[in-house]
Symmetry: D2
Subunit: 363 residues, 4 copies
């Protein structure tokens, strides 16, 4: 079996997760190279994961390796430039969320990939998380009848890395970071139905000293098919990661909880090494998570893309889906600024999605 | 990469699980052949799973294929004979629980494997189930201090296949089928500490019309290190599979629940295809399980054995461990018969472990 | 001890709950009389609960009994008229939610009670439900730091009684029936802070054949103190009653679940008499609730009012609070109609709150 | 209404619980007097609870007050002497668990109460705990078919008060303190069926420096009707009180959890006042209990006894039941000493039940 050659851009938290997924679960891929802006960080990452090459220059990586797939795990503001470079170099691309900072970037990324005839997959792992996917299956089997409402929440106490808090680099706060998951999952559950309108409220409750971005948000999305969806996203919730969905149908309901709802329950007087993502402590009661990477669906997601590349298939989640999510985030920011529903399609020109909220607040 | 060649003996429920594990998670192995006593069943299994060869004769399978590993998933009474054949043919062996029906068989199996210089792994998947393994890790990190009590329970409403209920074929009832998991896991958690004595009580509460075997049992095991362990096993518990452990230490406690504690919670008026193993129905509230095979640890277990074969390492769980478990089951049956603790070592001569209970009951 | 004399208006579901509360937990009160529009229903209720007198005429009840307290449990459209009659007769009044159908009614009720110097308590039992009150206490102790978000959900599959579905009698759908609980509880948690604005979305998903009212609603309330609150209310959720709250603070979080989160978990092949309110079935898995009346806070609430009457104290929840809740419901209906936040104070003239939604929809 | 006059013996933890029960929920009783061995403690208790009289001499209390009911909440070794005094004084008696230290005491207590024609109620609150009672009801309705196994566990990290750890005063360790609950509840669930035999294992794992008594125990009770019961009791389990039961029937199963299973779930960075009984901390995740006294059934239990006194009825749980529980505890200690089942009836002569274990261990 020849292996599909992958290079990873980025050497942070999410890159670790991708590498674990490839190395444990996707034998048909091999990681040839890693890029980080800091060469020391690139080298350390390569050594830790036994990756043969490392770079601090994407052009050099593209020129000097024969990778077929570029897996983009860099900060938001570097998504477009690297996607475009990789596409022009003829590489297939899988890219972490959100697709881009602006819709213009998104459009250019999609167009460039098309022009260069390379695949572009938008890596929304909730579309592959096994508990959620199992829920989606039983919905398709009719378990809850016709769906009329979906909820999805993702909450923790805030990222560790600085760039998330810099709205120039991230384009916004928790909505850009985590709200995109809910938006992507709603569309996935509804067969990419069309969004009618979006309402949002948001605020900065915990990290005001560190960011101008929102760290708590509620978004209501109404789809043309009549389904109402509610997203809750927060960087202000203590006690560890929370990732839940609720599916309401005319014949039943499903509750799925990825973290607390799959963990062992531990009481430790002295504490121990690690309970779960963003848990402040492991002393006292804690929810001890296991096989986090697998249970969030990263291996399933990446395996799917490698299969698409090897068998020349279209990914289930594409750049267009990523763009649709970004449009919903634009609408959410604008809605929070204006205090009313924003109808889609919606394509104002802004440098950062969050300006649609911040600028309205200043008025 | 050359693949390690595996043949599977058995074409039932557990064989399906092993095949899913190999095919999805263990690319370094390939399944060459399957054996079933009924050739039609063997052929159907082979076709379903794209296995190139099928047999209703183990000798023929051993002679005609160049497999390196025999994975034994046949009923208990066929464990010894097939292990011995495979060992004499120079094959490495991984065998489902329980290791054998009698201690004499177990001794012969172990000796034959040694004599033929082949590996013998006792496939106790609870030693690999990721939630339980995560719990074991945090115990090792000191999360609960010194352990003083362990509990493990496995319960459902009874197997589907007939031979489980025939004590001539199975050697006993739920203890042989499921009690072995608890015994194996206790030893695993305690670093294969020595058992001091075993007490058990058991009865036939639900399936008396179908079996002379026990379908409900409580076993207390006291280890020489002072740790007390309690196993609960049942074929008489409705509402789906239950597999839980509790770990009590002087500095804390861990509760881990493999099935209900990892599932989505669904209410379905009409019901749907499948909720979890042995759930009677999926209508009303149900606990919707996902990635069952992975979360029970089968891929981790089989991957470990394939690695042992490829890298010539000793399995973490061996035939000797399987024998030690069987000795505990002997002691449990004798204890239930005599109403008192049975000290180990314990090696009475019987044809079937359950006779130690049944014969005492008749007195 | 002389007992405080109470008459109950209404002989339905909620009247049973009040009577159980008085008779088991409030010995300082005695129920003298019951009124129902149907004399047979009144008599049956009186006999069932050993109440000495029954009436189908409120004026007669007021004239012929020497009750001091009128406990109003009749349908919404009869709230104002009976409150005003009782107040004019010099009776203290405790009234079930919502306070009234219109703000004009509410104003008249409050004014009449004041003019006649009688107490008017708005019976919001969530302000007394012991689990929620315990949560409120620990919040006051600083358990979660400064609160920034509250959520409250109440959902089941729809009332049994017809008048709830008739918007002429109820004034609206699930918001009037259950949304008022969330609104009342938000204010209670926040010390009756002022509401800045309300946003809502609603739809009729399950009971469209039976009502023009909404049976599913999401309401976002923003308070002047910066706290964001989210209410979810539904008559379209199967599997029994759901009543939950979530309290988010800058130093922690509390999740409280009144029904599923306090029940025993039962699997019954054959089913049994009653699992919990609005559970469709007790076969299969069910959440078996206990001491429902107590755990929802009815005895605590009624005991408080009897104490107010006996000791001449002001109730903790008054007619003004009920009016404030109703104003929030008005704003929610208007918001759902207009697709934007509605700022408070808000007092449009309508016959039924739901017209603010229905009329906007027709435009 | 004349009130039934009650005097309480004891001024500790459980006396507080009884007083809260009487004062909030049993208006037909009034507490006239309290006794404690230390007069300062008696006075402080009386002042705290507005009890008119306090004593440090039981004889004086019996002579000087006209109470009709003596509620005995003193340490185990004072149960017999005070019961006998109260009975001879013609008082009805309700007594906390265990009934007595020895069977001889129990026999004398029962006989003296009979001779003096006073009622003797054994206060097993689990027979009245509303969640457990609800479970018992649905079992009687047939929810789980014929019961074949019961489990009951009560665990925390050890009492605060010293006498519990002194086997001369308590007669034993956690079995005397908490194991009696399980024994009482098993008999209650099974209509006081006859016990066939008892097996137990026990050890001192956490409090060896403070007590010779067992602080961890497993007891298996087999009833003549074929039902197997398992009790788990511990003073060595951290993280707060655990009180659970499981009911297994041929047609279903019920799980009921009194503490964690009825609480709110709180994450508090800073901690707060009180989470639940014996919780070491309220920082981090905690299970916030509410209405503890009510939900454990104390008001229901005491109300029942007051009703028995007022209406001259026989208590549902009598001195004979308390004696039967004590006999089971004797058998458990003897079994743990001898390593075998002990058949009932069983009445060895010992000063302290625990001697049946300790003396056998010394052999």
């Amino acid at each position: 079996m020849t292996k599909t050659k992958v290079a990873i851009l980025g050497a942070g938290f999410i890159s670790d997760i991708h590498v674990e997924s490839y190395q444990r679960f996707i034998p048909e891929a091999e990681i040839l190279a890693v890029y980080a802006r800091n060469i020391g960080k690139a080298r350390a990452f390569a050594e830790k994961h036994h990756i043969p090459a490392y770079f601090d220059d994407v052009d050099q990586l593209l020129a000097e390796t024969d990778c077929e797939v570029i897996d983009i795990c860099v900060p938001n503001y570097l998504h477009a430039i690297n996607t475009i470079k990789a596409a022009k170099a003829g590489k297939h691309i899988i890219i972490e969320k959100p697709l881009a900072v602006t819709l213009e970037e998104a459009d250019e990324m999609i167009a460039t990939c098309k022009a260069n005839n390379v695949k572009l997959m938008y890596a929304e792992e909730l579309c592959f998380a096994p508990k959620y996917e199992r829920a989606r299956q039983v919905v398709k089997e009719g378990a809850v009848g016709e769906v009329y409402m979906l909820k999805q929440a993702e909450k923790h106490s805030g990222p560790h890395t600085d760039w998330f808090y810099d709205i120039n680099l991230a384009g916004g706060g928790v909505l850009m970071d985590m709200g995109c998951h809910a938006m992507g999952w709603f569309r996935w559950m509804l067969g990419n139905a069309k969004v009618k309108d979006v309402y949002a409220t948001m605020s900065t409750v915990l990290h005001g000293g560190r960011t101008k971005g929102e760290d708590n948000a509620i978004v209501i999305v109404e789809f043309e098919n009549g389904v109402t969806c509610v997203a809750e996203d927060s960087w202000a919730k203590h006690g560890g990661m929370d990732d839940r969905c609720e599916i309401y149908g005319k014949g039943g309901v499903i509750y799925a909880d990825l973290f607390m709802g799959s963990s062992a329950l531990t009481y430790s007087r002295e504490g121990y090494g690690y309970a779960m993502e963003k848990a402040d402590t492991s002393a006292g009661w804690s929810f001890t998570i296991f096989e986090e990477v697998f249970n969030q669906g990263y291996p399933h997601e990446l395996k799917h893309f490698i299969e698409c590349v090897r068998e020349d298939k279209t990914p289930l989640v594409t750049g267009e889906d990523g763009r649709a999510v970004l449009e919903m985030l634009y609408a959410a920011y604008a809605s929070a600024g204006q205090g009313k529903k924003i109808s889609l399609p919606f394509h104002p020109k802004v440098d950062r999605p969050i300006d649609l909220w911040l600028n309205a607040k200043q008025d």
